[in-house]
């Protein structure tokens, strides 16, 4: 029987694995529709706690016996997570927030339920237009806009004054202002940028393409063609290249991340970012040295003073368009919201969607500085300079093309590479033709 004992070890091993597998089965979050737990995936930290609480309370009040669980997912890992979880009847959330440029891929793949019949109820024509398009396939709507956040330009008032520059009112004036600031280099820093414009920053760069009437890609029948070579796009790109050459010293190997760092260091007079960047402006002359974990009353007072000081020295304006008084067509960041097709709680998810598009909730979004999915509530944004800039910018903002495979263009970082080439002084027509080809190859 010796043999048996030795191989008994193996049996113990298999038993251990099975035991472990068995005991973990119970700790599952239930995908069973019977227990009526609705799970909402929110991406990133944009939705404030107060709004989450409101959703849970209201939903559980209106749907007796049902509970709402909100799970926050990091933006950086959202796509692989959706790719796996949405295909699982067991694990799928019942309502998901998804980046607007990621939306077409999942919509075309059939990951979401058709909610065309709800659109009128949720806001109809008042829903942010490009966002609805990003969630539409063959006239059926699968994803609706959750919120949008447009970009605005932040600037140092003292540096504007020192260089004798006014707040620009047209795109041409903006260009002049940036060049003038760069040439004057007020503040005496060696690597000064009139306008912080790093080489891979296509999020900001496409504003020039869009504002001149160009586009990244357009649909021609059943196929997509890159549109960077169109005369309109080329006009915008020529200006972009000039800004890269003569209005910035930002590195070519950097992207739109953390543009306030050089600004805070006094090395940039302007940068363009979502309006929430106001909370990241931290000029040394305003810093009160409050410890990061200090939550005393005194610290709060000091932080409020610090914020006021920063906002005193900083101005903000929407990037101006070609005509005075119109905003440029900037890139609209933001997200859509959709009901996964595999969710077992379709009805409850629809109820939750209705709460999200209620006047109360939409107003709360706006009060927190986000352009709500239903634009008729945008007035609740308030009328301080940041809200105004955000609203003006969002008015004409535009998304990336609503192509099925657009997310792959972003995954392959084609536009990052393309803008970097422009920043490096590449031949415009040649680089654009190449990028157009890559975009077309990827989209079709």
């Amino acid at each position: 029987m010796k043999r048996v004992r030795t191989s008994g070890l193996a049996a113990v091993g298999v038993g251990l694995l099975l035991a472990v597998a068995a005991c973990s089965g119970g700790s599952e979050t239930g995908g069973d529709s019977g227990d009526a737990e609705v799970r909402l995936w929110l991406a990133g930290t944009d939705t404030p706690q107060e709004l989450r609480d409101y959703l849970v309370e209201t939903f559980e009040e209106q749907n007796e016996g049902a509970t709402l669980v909100i799970e926050e997912q990091d933006w950086s890992g959202l796509v692989p997570r959706l790719q796996t979880a949405l295909a699982s009847a067991d694990q799928t959330p019942d309502l998901v927030e998804i980046g607007n440029t990621q939306s077409p891929t999942f919509t075309y793949a059939g990951a979401f339920s058709d909610i065309t019949d709800m659109v009128e109820d949720l806001g109809g024509d008042q829903l942010l237009e490009g966002f609805v398009e990003a969630g539409t396939v063959d006239d059926s709507v699968y994803a609706v806009p959750y919120y949008s956040g447009a970009r605005a330009v932040f600037y140092r008032k003292d540096l504007f004054q020192a260089a004798g520059v006014q707040v620009p009112t047209t795109l041409a004036e903006f260009r002049e202002a940036a060049l003038k600031l760069q040439a004057a280099a007020p503040g005496g820093k060696p690597n000064f940028s009139g306008f912080w414009f790093p080489g891979q920053d296509w999020y900001n760069g496409i504003a020039w393409i869009y504002s001149h009437g160009g586009d990244l890609a357009v649909q021609d029948g059943d196929t997509w063609v890159g549109a960077l070579s169109s005369p309109e796009s080329q006009k915008g790109l020529a200006e972009v290249q000039e800004l890269f050459a003569d209005a910035t010293r930002a590195p070519r190997d950097a992207d739109s991340a953390e543009p306030w760092v050089p600004f805070n260091n006094g090395e940039a007079a302007m940068f363009s970012a979502p309006t929430w960047a106001r909370w990241s402006i931290d000029l040394p002359e305003c810093n009160k040295g409050v410890a990061a974990d200090d939550e005393s009353e005194q610290a709060k007072v000091l932080l409020a003073e610090q914020q006021a000081c920063n906002e005193e020295k900083t101005g903000v304006f929407p990037l101006p368009g070609e005509q005075a008084g119109t905003p440029a067509t900037v890139f609209a960041g933001g997200s859509n919201i959709a009901i996964p097709a595999k969710s077992g709680n379709q009805e409850l998810a629809r109820n939750l969607l209705e709460i999200i598009f209620s006047e109360e909730y939409q107003t709360m979004l706006a009060e927190n500085g986000l352009i709500p999915g239903n634009s008729s509530y945008a007035d609740a944004l308030g009328d301080d300079v940041y809200a105004q800039a955000a609203r003006d910018a969002a008015l004409g903002a535009k998304l990336t093309p609503a192509a099925e495979k657009w997310a792959e263009v972003e995954g392959a970082r084609i536009l990052e590479d393309f803008f970097q080439q422009i920043a490096g002084g590449a031949d415009l027509a040649e680089a654009s033709a190449e990028a157009d080809q890559l975009i077309a190859d990827t989209l079709n």
């Binding site: 043999r3 030795t6 191989s7 070890l9 193996a10 049996a11 091993g13 298999v14 694995l17 790719q83 949405l86 295909a87 891929t105 999942f106 075309y108 793949a109 059939g110 990951a111 060696p190 690597n191 790093p198 080489g199 891979q200 010293r249 930002a250 590195p251 070519r252 190997d253 950097a254 992207d255 760092v261 050089p262 090395e267 097709a341 495979k405 997310a407 792959e408 995954g411 392959a412 970082r413 084609i414 990052e416 590479d417 970097q420 080439q421 490096g424 890559l438």
Partner: protein
């Protein structure tokens, strides 16, 4: 080389120094004893089962599936229920007829060989150094290397990104300020592919050398001091003792470590991926690892590329595998 394997160095006494109970030295390895036929029938299979179960579930099935998918058209839509279509070898021909893919393959092989060679060179040198210095210096070096090996990659990669940052990188600051090379003040390290691979090599070697050092150092410890002393008495210089005595004795170790380095460096992913996100031109800097990942929305393509990569790895390591199988016979 089979002579080397029978030297005392190759037969490593497995006992730690503190276990005096060990009697006779180990029997020659690679020649498992014949047991009674009855035992040999079922026992080994039962012993393999526990290892095979998780590997089959967690790795085997996904790998087989990846291989099968590589002959289909399978993307996001198929994952959500659209039927997959069989396309035969189309994914393979599409990839292999694209000159860009061949560029990626060539770059990866070159990167892999250079990095594996550098890692081995530096690792062996440091291991030899370690065996020649006093306890304090040795412990300092060991702890330094351990830290580089053991810290989460997420954190070390962020720091490396900061060090080579164009605007605020410490490397540029050091070159420009104390060393007076003002032209390097805003130098972009990762924008040219050549310089990108230089930075990537520094990071990859930094992360892989500790494993090599510890393994080779342990190997050198096993070289009998008596041999070295005898050689010294015969007038051999330190270099000669190392080159003709110690290194041949640890050759089996070196071979295995080198093989692992080749496998790991060909698959290199995280370091390249993070550096690309830091602002490098993506298309010009793809290696096989990142290229496959960029295909991951089209699983069938990614699967085909993975199979191609397996073939390349096998080709690069065929020499070793053949040798190993011969010794197993």
């Amino acid at each position: 080389m089979s002579a080397t394997r029978s030297t005392p160095a190759a037969v490593v006494p497995p006992a730690p120094p503190r276990a005096p109970a060990v009697g006779p030295p180990a029997a020659p390895p690679g020649r498992p004893r014949q047991r009674s036929p009855r035992r040999a029938r079922l026992g080994p299979y039962l012993l393999l089962v526990p290892a095979l179960v998780p590997v089959a579930i967690g790795l085997g099935y996904p790998l087989v599936r990846q291989f099968v998918l590589s002959f289909q058209e399978y993307g996001m839509a198929q994952q959500f229920g659209r039927p997959a279509e069989w396309v035969g070898l189309r994914n393979y021909t599409e990839l292999l007829s694209d000159p860009y893919v061949w560029g990626v393959i060539a770059r990866s092989v070159a990167f892999c060989l250079v990095n594996a060679a550098l890692t081995m060179g530096v690792g062996i040198a440091l291991a030899v150094l370690m065996s020649r210095v006093g306890r304090v210096a040795r412990m300092t070096l060991q702890v330094g290397l351990l830290l580089a090996w053991g810290t989460p990659v997420l954190a070390t990669m962020t720091v490396w990104q900061w060090l080579f940052d164009s605007q605020y990188g410490v490397v540029n600051w050091l070159l420009a300020e104390p060393l007076g090379m003002t032209g390097m003040r805003q130098h972009s390290w990762i924008i040219e592919p050549a310089s990108f691979y230089l930075v990537a090599t520094v990071i990859v070697v930094w992360m892989s050398v500790p494993f090599v050092v510890f393994t080779v150092y342990a190997g050198l410890l096993q070289v009998p001091e008596e041999c070295m002393e005898a050689a010294q008495l015969d007038g051999a210089t330190a270099w000669q003792r190392l080159r003709y005595l110690a290194l041949p004795m640890v050759a089996p170790v070196l071979l295995v470590v080198a093989l692992l380095q080749v496998i790991w460096d060909l698959r290199v992913f995280t370091q390249i991926y993070v550096l690309q996100r830091a602002g490098a031109p993506t298309r010009e800097t793809h290696l096989l690892g990142t290229f496959i990942y960029s295909l991951s929305k089209e699983f069938s393509m990614a699967g085909a590329m993975a199979t191609i990569m397996l073939v390349i790895t096998l080709a690069l390591t065929a020499f070793y595998i053949r040798r190993m199988l011969r010794e197993e016979a």
